[in-house]
Amino acid sequence: MGFGGAAPGKERSMSASGAGNPARTGRVLHATLDLLDRQLRDRNGKLCGNVDDLEITRDDETGQMFVSAILCGPGILAYRMGRRRLGRWLEDANRRVHDTPRHHEPFERTRIPIVFAGEIGPMIEVAVDVDDLATHDMERWTLTHIIDHIPGSGSRAHQ
């Protein structure tokens, strides 16, 4: 697993034991194994992307590194894999489909502050709404532009 490129503007360093700051979150984790690439689930249990990258911050007082945010959304994974041009292209493409800007966004749409992370297990629950995340823009676009036009896509659960 390589960390060839970090997201722009984010600290690049990522030690193998990039642990959470116990003082802030009370959890010490192996960031690469326990966080990266895990499935995210929003507060209603909806799947809302993977942990594409992590934002690591250094605590000024203690000098300790800790995970400050989960990064997810179009382009982030490409940046992490060192594909900057692809990442930028994906970001731009997503900006076009994101047609419903929200006024009271609690955070950037591709950055979930770590305090929003709940249970960290095989899935990571985040206390956000899927519609506030950039990972869901394309899903919504597909719904209104394609799926809704096909008969039988209805909300009726057909068990």
Partner: protein
């Protein structure tokens, strides 16, 4: 009682769902060309799929994570992406083969050229993916697939010397007319047909769709331990039928209709009708499984909502990927490419791509944080699974060179 019925139904579904276009073609072709000298490969392949499907089902039941989620988590995004591209490509070949298989089985009864039927079949496959409930879909095509038991009836009607059949299977040798290379190539084809990656994608995703929990572990075990070996037995019956009827007449299998030939000749008209229904159900069921698998792997790698338990509007990108896959496979099939050749390539390449999919399953099935301390693999299971991983690696290395040396098994 209801529980017993459910389990029985699950097992029957597993048997009927085991055989697909790949198994039909690979078993019939090897039976006609190599007699029973490759029967042991089917046994090896079935044990392999039993071991790994059980693990993937157990992981899915205990932590709700299907296989391709684990692939990205454990291989990392780079190898995960490589696996995604390879699996998706192979899955497209398989889907093309299955759709063509359905069209061919329909053309046998309608005398319409199968190419005309492909668009119709593709539409039907999509409609089922779009609307039919998961359980219903699994049951209908799994149970109809049981019609393939008529191959066993055919073998029994032919009334072979059972001792000879058994000793032919247990004392394998390379036939004089063949080389070691073609023998190995067809062995890999059989192995790939039994262990096709989409089976674990579908099986584990299906377990999540069915909402399996730790209570369903028993059902998982029974489905896999009883259903798959019986499905494998069905594969061997296909092999035996062509070995007994086609090999002595030097007929090689290069069309799907020839697969049905032994049944038609041994059981008669009714047998032919039943076997055509069986082939239709087996290929249609597999077309559904591969269509859904296309959606599963992409959605799970990228973390999208997926699944057909709820209406399509709850998993929109997943359904779009499925549509694209079915459309692409139909266009590929319409290009007039030989369906049997596509099938052969799809199973041989499957064998080459297997390690990347099976390795993460083995790792996670040993991780107590995913499956809990009581449900990790035992020592024996790990030993067997590791041996298989080594076999898979060797097969993966040998596949492409063998493909070139034998010119695709010619």
């Amino acid at each position: 009682m209801k529980k017993v019925l459910g389990v029985a139904l699950g097992v029957l579904t597993a048997i009927g769902g085991f055989v697909d276009m790949g198994d039909l073609v690979a078993n019939a072709a090897t039976g006609a060309r190599f007699d029973m000298n490759l029967a042991w490969v089917v046994v090896v392949g079935v044990i392999g799929i039993v071991v790994y499907a059980e693990m993937s089902g157990r992981v899915a039941a205990l932590c709700g994570r299907p296989v391709f989620d684990l692939v990205r988590e454990r291989l990392g995004p780079r190898f995960g992406l490589a696996n995604l591209l390879a699996s998706f490509f192979i899955n497209m070949l398989t889907l093309t083969a299955e759709i063509a298989g359905v069209a061919l089985s329909l053309s046998l009864v309608s005398s319409v050229n199968y190419l005309f039927l492909i668009p119709f079949v593709a539409l039907l496959v999509w409609l089922v993916c779009w609307r039919m409930s998961f359980v219903m879909m699994e049951r209908v095509f799994g149970l109809l697939g049981l019609c393939l038991i008529v191959f066993a009836v055919a073998v029994w009607k032919i009334g072979p010397d059972w001792n000879q059949l058994l000793s032919g299977s247990t004392h394998p040798h390379v036939p004089h007319s063949e080389t070691l290379f073609t023998y190995a190539y067809f062995g890999i084809a059989l192995f790939g047909a039994a262990m096709t990656p989409y089976e674990v994608f579908f099986f584990s995703s299906g377990a999540v769709e069915d909402g399996w929990t730790s209570k369903d572990l028993g059902e998982n075990k029974i489905n896999v331990l009883v259903g798959f070996p019986l499905g494998g037995a069905l594969s061997l019956a296909i092999m035996a039928s062509t070995h007994l009827l086609l090999a002595p007449r030097h007929i090689s299998v290069d069309q799907l209709s020839q697969v049905a030939l032994p049944v038609a000749s041994a059981v008669g008209r009714l047998g032919l009708a039943v076997v055509i229904i069986g082939i239709f159900a087996a290929t249609f069921g597999a077309a559904l499984e591969t269509s859904l698998s296309a959606g599963y792997v992409v959605a799970q790698y990228l973390g999208w909502p997926w699944g057909k338990r709820d209406a399509p509007r709850t998993a929109t990108r997943f359904h779009v990927v499925i549509m694209i896959a079915i459309f692409g496979a139909a266009v590929f099939g319409l290009s007039g490419i030989d369906p049997v050749k596509v099938t052969e390539y799809s199973i041989v390449l499957s064998a080459a791509a297997l390690p990347l999919t099976y390795f993460p399953i083995l790792v996670i099935a040993n991780d107590a944080r995913y499956v809990g301390p009581d449900h990790t693999n035992g020592r024996f299971l790990n030993a067997v699974a590791s041996v298989y991983l080594i076999i898979l690696l060797l097969v993966a290395i040998a596949t492409i060179p063998l493909m070139i040396i034998t010119k695709g098994g010619a």
